[in-house]
Amino acid sequence: MTWNGASAGMIKSTTKVICDAGPIIHLDELSCLDLLSDFQEIILSGKVSEEIKRYRPSALKREGLSFTTLTQNISPDELLLTICRIFALDAGETEVLALMQQNPQAMFLTDDASARLAAYQMGFRVHGSIGILIRSIRRGHRDPEETVRILAEIPLKSTLHIKPALLKEIIIKVKTEFNL
């Protein structure tokens, strides 16, 4: 695949993302939070915003990036509450899934396996930090070499958990894809 960053990166995506705390924290740890500015809107629930403020307050203050925090009372219905209990999801994840129910066209960003599984079951589009990092090549926001370097830094710079063998495989895949 040939990378043509300049042409791909000009048009902003029309997709809105609803974020769990994980991707915001992990992308910020990797100095890649700017990648979310490619989306039309970055929506957080009140509880997710609180969680980020507690663990990574600087993430919400990045220049050029605005978050929409929906602080109104989001009341999950009984079915959603049951699903969330089965998947052992916390209050923030439950609130985010309730927001997804209200905005089913949005994309849900999470790095939590249970939350992702629950979201899949509910029919939502779901991706995580690794997807956002690799998407940045396709969207022209990072070049392939830079992305490979960022991927390699995940265990050193971030709290994102990934099996070393799998990470190595991903790096090889990206390198192969772009003839690096």
């Binding site: 695949m1 995506s13 997709t15 998947f87 052992a88 994309m107 396996a113 249970s114 992702r116 599984l117 589009r125 991706h127 995580g128 690794i130 997807g131 956002i132 990092l133 690799i134 998407r135 940045s136 090549i137 396709r138 990934i162 099996k163 799998l166 991903i170 895949k173 990206v174 894809e177």
Partner: protein, 64 residues
């Protein structure tokens, strides 16, 4: 069985304690065992790998 020692937030422990007092569980140990079992059920290695692989494909070839 292995014995582990760990710290839990006071609020979390109180919730567990309340469930025991109400008679839902024999003791707090039972609750933490059940919580870990459930977490491990939904965090299976194959599933987490599948999610990451899906993300790589989407990252490379998605259209959004």
């Amino acid at each position: 069985m292995r014995t582990i020692s760990t710290e839990v937030p006071e609020q979390l422990y109180k919730k567990a304690e309340a469930l025991v007092k109400e008679g839902w569980f024999r003791d707090e140990k039972d609750i933490f065992y059940e919580a870990i079992r459930r977490f491990l059920d939904s965090h299976q290695s194959e599933l987490m790998e599948k999610f990451v692989r899906d993300d790589v494909e989407w990252g490379l070839r998605g259209n959004d």
